[in-house]
Amino acid sequence: MSVDHENVRKALQKEADAYRGHQAELSKLATTKRDLTARQQETETVLEELKLLDDEANVFKAVGPVLVKQDLMEARTNVTNRLEFIKKDIERLDNQIKGVESKMLDREREIMKLQKKLQGAAGDPS
């Protein structure tokens, strides 16, 4: 009984560690996702503004300390592409997050099972 106990405890410990690892991973991914989302919003705003401009407006791109005149169309295209990239990145990140979450769920289940076993063993030794 106690041997089982020990084994169960060790397994539980391992699961708990894995779970924590997943959690850390998840938090990192979450941070990344937050940043990406912010960038996406900004880019959308820019695109919106660009769309509102009439064709004569001058748009400048800031390259270091220099402002380089850019074609409005070109600017629009660039921003649109950027937005696409960002969206794709976010999608990928979402998938990653889902994967980690599901792994976490599995771990949770394992942990619960082990805990039950532990309790059972503890409770039923007698």
Partner: protein, 586 residues
Amino acid sequence: MSQELKACLAAMQAAARQREADVAALQASVDEVARVQQLLARLPDKVRHKAMVPFGKQAFFEGELIHTNETLVGLGCDLRLEASARQAAEVLARRHARAEAAAAAARQQLGELRARADELAATLSNDEGEDLVEIRQEYEESEELLAAARGSAAAAAKPAPTHAGGASEGTSREDSSGAAEAAAAAAEAVVAGRDGEGSGASAAARNGDGRGGGEGKKNDDDDQRIFARLEELERLEAEAGSEGEDEASDGGGGGGGGGEDEGGVHRGSNREMSAAAAAPAGAGRGGPGEGGGSDAGVSAPAGAAGHTGAASGAATSRGPAASAPVAAPQDAVASTAPAVPTAALAAEAEGPVAKAKPAATPLRKGFLLGGGGRGGATRGTPAAQARQPGGEAPVAAATGAAGGGSGSGVGASGGGEASSSGREARRVSFADGSLPGEEAGSGAGLQQGPGRALGGPGRQQGGGIRPAMKQGSSAGEPVGQRGVGDRGASAGLAGDGGGGGGGSLRHTAARVAVLEDGGDASMAMARAREEAFTGLVRERPVDGDGEAAGSGAGGVGTSLSDATNGEVTAAPKRVSKFKQQRQGAA
């Protein structure tokens, strides 16, 4: 647990603070945009604007703003737009709107966070502003007991019903001796199944001499057992919840087992009751094993019978359920017999059994009281009493459902009360035992239990009691536990009284128990249980109890109060008490 809650609360508050910072930042950006907009609006007023132009970090020079209509508006993504002042103003207006929206959303989230944090903080302290005390009982023993009880209950139910049923039925609460013995036998069996507590044996022994009054010695053992039982019962109750019903209805014997089940069922209704029920259940189980004990026997059959009867009747009311289960276990045990007797009295008492969970103890008391005749007879035997409380107490103690014990006792008395209100009443009545003769009616009477003062929090109907296992209520529990011992005795006594005035029964039962044992360990336990069961707050004035006791059927109550006095201060915390008990027992 409260630590966890506090940690959670702290985290929530931290999040709220962070959100606050976000809101502040967003608001700042909104203000900035507004400022620039104002400036832009003024620029076209003049061709040249005189200005102090910043030059480097710490210098200015006088200069002019020219070509103010041409602006480079930053769009984001390293893009600048050449625009007129008016166009810039439009862009800024849009920007301002977006910033405002973001700030508003953040503010709303902050409000939500704050609300949640406040809620949590509020729940951390009870309504009265006291700190919520999380009552936790260690499971080990209880679980075992529960399991054992279950098994034994089942087994006991079968055999017990035969024994207990026979015993209880036969004795039908009335016949304490016969029942006691039968119960003892059943209890033995049950006990053996359960914890193998000596209580069973002791119960039996108790029964034998318990009646006679050999209780004193066993009390200690009983106490431990009782506590163990109580815990067990509690657990059982929680788990049995619904099952108890069926069993309870089975009959006294089954009632014992059923009581548990019922208790289980009803348990849900009364947390306290569950505790009590658990105790009784545990006790019931153990009770049957040990319950056989003197009063238990009597009470058990009576209690069981009444219990089951009540249980069935109580099916509806949680209280009864609780009490029933409580009663059942207790009765079943024969220790719960008090419930039975009261049950008999109350018949409905079982209903109160539900309430009896907590009432279980009252049942006991009532049992004692109700048994009046029986109670008296049983009471006469200190052992019996001890058994009752002892039986119950051990059970109750075991289960920590001291309250249950008391509850059952009370329940017994409250048997009549059956109704859920009875549950509440249970507690109350216990205090006073001033409950009207009938158990059911005793609800009101119950409430009066001044002494018992089921403690506001604890008193609350199962829900209140349950969650309120606050200090106060828990105290009641431990008290009940202690009182269980007493209660057992008193319960037995009360049981005898037969549900006479459930409340009063309870009360008197308790009192009686007190009187009987005059401080026997079992008595103490019974008392404790009762107290706990009835949700009486420890602080209830002992005097009140004494008085109530006086009014109690048996008028034995006074002794109870005395007993409780000692107990009152004894159990500061149910948990600790139990733990101690267990440790002591272990």
